[in-house]
Subunit: 200 residues, 2 copies
DNA sequence: GCTAATTGCGAACGGTCGTTAGGTTAAAGT
DNA sequence: ACTTTAACCTAACGACCGTTCGCAATTAGC
């Protein structure tokens, strides 16, 4: 039927699968994702799809890794230009909020959704989620530490507490956008971040 | 085999099923809940289980309704004793946080989990979730309004904004407890609520 | 040009899914 | 005492699940 592709196109097919899987999993969940459905969407056979990964769990991990990479490129990478401290953090949360509000089918921040889906389900997927969130937490904590040192925040600031509250703002934004589809959510979230990061 | 039960015990069986389904769905999700698995846990046949509800979706709605009722009895009902305004709201969030931190197998606030699971899945279940959350939102907004009238909060308070941020605190608590199993989460959440509700 | 490796397909596997039909048994109504 | 109703069962249904096997087609290495 179709002509065979060169080896260089193997990676292309792989990422085509992951792209489609990301879209599918953002509505059905990472566990609700099925190989048959994925194969239909891609106009491939089930064997052709799973052959690239070996098992469903490996596919799930690959999809998650792709989502994490996408988040990294979209959020922290776009904030490197800003001055370390509150400025960079504000920028990063700004980007995150924009990212969640994009409606190009990928259903908000995939990582946030999967974190909720797998919170009570031990295994490699949960571990990978925890890794990604730990990395993000470390990033936020480091920037907050810088901000305190630079006196942008009061010296007695409880960094862990502030990180907790910032995370809450992001989660509230995610829910407002995904569930309630409230167009004011990004504005509210930005205001909340500002209230936390700009010393009163 | 087993003796037939009286009609009065029909409701008992029904609630036995719902109880078990709540436990199961709090780890597997409401969609990941399975009639076969449920029947095995209850030592019943699949037909015996589904016969009480008619379809899986009806079962899901019944489970959700039970979770909502449980939340109502646990959170707002326990706050009626407190004075309307910030006092009652603080009490309500206190109860909510305690509720989420309970580890008796029911996996935190079920409503919060399902809200995330069905945020991108239209249908009766999503509608029921939206109803429940709208009711809770109205409750919070009303108490905040009372607090503003009573000058417990500044007159220029943006009630919607404050409700958004309070919701974020609850979501952060849910994630910290369920995913990270951080024993400090309740303390952090209470501190965050206090920072929002006690005028600086 | 020949061989080896890669890529994807078709078909099938045992298993589980939600749902339904029909039968059995006990309780309720009269 | 007899009938009706309700609760629950076994058995089966078609559909789909993830996974595996063998095979055809194409490319890469030599």
């Amino acid at each position: 039927m179709s002509p065979r592709k060169s080896v260089a196109e193997t990676a292309a097919t792989r990422s085509r699968i992951i792209d489609s899987a990301l879209t599918l999993a953002s509505t059905e969940g990472l566990e609700g994702l099925t190989i048959g459905r994925l194969a239909t969407d891609l106009e491939m056979s089930k064997a052709g799809v799973i052959g690239h990964f070996g098992s469903k769990e490996a596919l799930q991990l690959a999809v998650l890794a792709a989502a994490v990479e996408r988040f990294r490129l979209r959020v922290p990478a776009r904030a490197v230009g800003a001055r370390p401290g509150t400025e960079r953090l504000t920028r990063a949360f700004d980007e995150w909020i924009d990212y969640m509000a994009e409606v190009e089918g990928h259903g908000g921040c995939f990582l946030t959704s999967v974190a909720s889906e797998f919170d009570g389900r031990p295994g490699p997927v949960r571990d990978a989620v925890l890794d990604a969130l730990a990395s993000w937490s470390a990033y936020v904590a480091a920037e907050l530490g810088t901000a305190v040192e630079a006196r942008e925040l009061p010296p007695h600031t409880d960094v862990e507490q502030l990180a907790f509250e910032l995370n809450g703002v992001a989660l509230a934004a995610h829910q407002s956008i995904q569930l309630h589809r409230d167009p004011q959510a990004p504005t509210r979230a930005r205001r909340a971040v500002a209230r936390l990061l700009i010393a009163p």
